[in-house]
């Protein structure tokens, strides 16, 4: 490996400028700062085609992260979304390709399996009183295992009629970006305007106060985890469409990216706060970083280091910003 490839990204001065931008403007400031840094460092970054690529790269993480936002706002955690995404995609492909079911029915079954997986996690948390971390860690393993069992361990071709989901509209607009936008709008609407959404904030803010104020906390938790599973299913289908096959080993570790996106977006892991727009920004920060570092030919090994640093930095800055605002 040459010294050129091992070069650490960004300079000290740029790092400081990035830190200040986040400190002043929150996650959006960080995203803008990162985009400016990448544009300065790479001539190829700021062109339309590449930015759409960033959108495609962000789409799966962002859709997963919208679902996880619901859970984190309610002071829970969902570690199972990567596995559930793979399971749902596998179910869709198996139903359509192996069993010959109509594609629309296969998709519906895939979504139902995602929601059901969430429902089971939710039941373990709400009625079984398991810590969310444990319940969804179990589902992470069960979901991945079932995907492997159903597929026999090898990829299943995705129905060609769903290939469009991974393609473009009018030859330039990537469909995953459209799905991302639609799911983001739905997530924002759920959080801001629905009973379940407002209950998420109440449960995450103070579960006991929510219960004493007549929120049906346990039933809401079922809905919250089911929504997370449903969003994971959508993400899994988009991912499989892009890869043209459902792979049981797809999306391994994506739950961590999703959680990182939510937290970078300004949500607190202790619950009670979070926004769909913040989560989108968090997912975009991760995608811009990866795309930019690829353009700069930074090794994948260093990319992991940089990603970790950005996660820590973003959340640290956000904490400082809030503390100074108090």
């Amino acid at each position: 490996m040459s010294a050129e490839v091992l070069r650490a990204p960004g300079g000290g001065a740029l790092g400081q400028w990035f830190a200040r931008a986040v400190l002043r403007n929150g996650p959006l400031g960080g995203l803008i700062a990162l985009v400016v840094v990448m544009a300065v460092l790479s001539r190829d970054f700021l062109n339309g085609q590449n930015l759409l690529n960033v959108g495609v790269q962000a789409s799966v993480t962002a859709i997963l992260a919208f679902g996880v936002t619901f859970v984190i706002v309610s002071a829970g955690i969902d570690l199972s979304v990567g596995s559930v995404a793979a399971l749902s995609a596998t179910v869709v492909a198996w139903c359509a390709t192996k069993e010959g079911l109509p594609v629309w029915l296969s998709v519906l079954l895939g979504l139902a399996v995602g929601a059901a997986a969430g429902l089971v996690s939710g039941a373990l948390v709400a009625y079984g009183r398991l810590p969310a971390f444990i319940a969804t860690l179990a589902m992470l393993s069960v979901g991945r295992g079932l995907a492997l069992v159903i597929s026999g361990g090898s990829p299943i071709a995705f129905p060609s009629s769903l290939g469009g989901l991974g393609g473009t509209l009018g030859g330039w607009l990537p469909v995953p970006v459209l799905v991302l936008a639609a799911m983001g709008a739905v997530a924002a609407l759920i959080l801001a305007r629905t009973y379940t959404g407002r209950a998420m904030f109440a449960i995450g803010g103070n579960e006991e106060a929510a219960r004493l104020s007549g929120i049906d906390v346990r039933r809401r938790k079922l809905v919250i985890y089911a929504l997370s599973g449903l969003f994971a299913a959508v993400a899994g289908i988009v991912l499989a469409a892009r890869l043209t096959s459902a792979q049981p080993q797809a999306a391994v570790g994506y739950e961590l990216d999703a959680i990182a996106a939510v937290v970078i977006g300004g949500a607190s892991l202790s619950g009670g706060s979070g926004k769909a727009s913040g989560t989108l920004i968090g997912a975009l920060i991760l995608a811009v970083l990866r795309n930019g570092l690829n353009l700069l030919s930074v090794s994948a090994f260093w990319q992991q280091v940089a990603t970790g640093l950005v996660i820590a930095l973003a959340v640290l800055m956000d904490t400082l910003r809030r503390r100074s605002a108090r």
Binding site: A192, T194, A202, G205, N206, S213, G214
Partner: protein, 522 residues
Amino acid sequence: MTGVNDDVPEGRELLRVEGVTKSFPGVRALDGVSLRLRAGEVHVLLGENGAGKSTLIKMLAGVHRPDAGRILVAGREVAVRSAQDAQRLGIATIHQEFNLVPGLTVAENIFLGRLPRTALGLVDKRTMRARAAELLRRVGLNVSPATPVAELGIARLQMVEIAKALSLGARVLIMDEPTAVLTSEEVSTLFGIVRELRDSGVGIVFITHHLEEIAALGDRVTVLRDGRSVAEVPAGTDEDELIRLMVGRDIAEQYPRERSAAPGAPLLRVRGLTREPAFRDVAFDVRAGEVVGLAGLVGAGRTEVARALFGVDRYDAGTVEAGGQPLARGDVRAAMRAGLGLVPEDRKGQGLLLDASLGDNLTLARLERDTRGGFVDRRGQRREAAAVAERLKVRMSGLEQSARTLSGGNQQKIVIGKWLLAGARLLILDEPTRGIDVGAKVEIYRLVNELTAAGHAVLMISSDLPEVLGMSDRVLVMAQGRIAGELAGERATQDAVMELALRPVNDGNTYEVSAMEGSDVG
């Protein structure tokens, strides 16, 4: 060991604060405050929440530094820049939240950070325990120094804190509302110890909201109002005068209960409510327009009964009827639909979403009602929240402000407002004015009057006897999980309540509800 110096001449000045001023962004917390503490006196620091008491004692504890003014210890000007400085100067503070490590023993806590060592550098447990035992004897605490602190109740934790202060050789002991969390027996024990410390020459700064404690324990009183020290008066000053000094205006009546002519139909009917061992055979009615007090010692089962009838906790036997309909057990939502609302004892832990906006807090209990087809009418909610906040005169910058940043009294108004918005007709107020200053208390009492005049009813649990007697139309006294008796009118006196609360309950002496019209259960 470094104990209190016993040969301090009576009355010598230990501590003097002169013209101290302290500003925080946007607010002048202290403005020329003075305080003089003599050896061997209990000096009460009195003031509403926000008057500057906390800032002043934090200054003496080395947390804040004054912008102007002087602090003198034993006549010498000093700078208290840190907790270590305060310790060195013999100033110890017992905060409302204790600084004890639950996993360590009493002795380890007392000597935390300065454990006696043996020649080998190991902790000298024998010396430590012997010295701790001596300190515990001085504060009258009868526990082994080897007891883990986690096993002690709040009153004993306080004694451990006092022992720790003594072990530091404190000559000035600052106690921030030490009685707020104690039962009346514990309070009298505490008073005994404070008097002993005073007689041994310690100067004590004592903060309390309970006016009756001033005459009982204090020697002198310094009254703070809006960051200024407005008066230094003898502790014998009468309560009305103290209140006037504290709030800067006369409060004609501290408990302005306006009794309605005749109570209406029963809104709540409880019969034979039992959950061993917390409560047993509890029966009572609450009628429209009534304030029913629920008095008794801490642990008598009052809060447990309130939670059970509101559906928070289950019960084994008995019935609860609201508006003529029986309520399902353990179903908060059913209780809410029947018009009940619970303002819990632990405002911050159970009443509020501290980091959420006031608007979200106010509309929390009517979230379901404002939902049509899955969507919440947020605009309607904001309108309703604004209306109730104005009606309750909540002092806030706007509905977007977070609940955490409000004073205790305004926080309580938010919790009450939440139930008004939810359409509650019977409010259960559990210790509604705990930790709330006099001015805000009176506002809450007025609100209770307003509600009962409009046909609502209130079940008020309170450990504050003057309050529960002053505000209730009838007082039910609980003892050991039972209703020991009911007092109304002239029979409702502090002595009568205490007698019922302390009387041992025997099985042949069950309380009869026959006094209530139309009751069907004895």
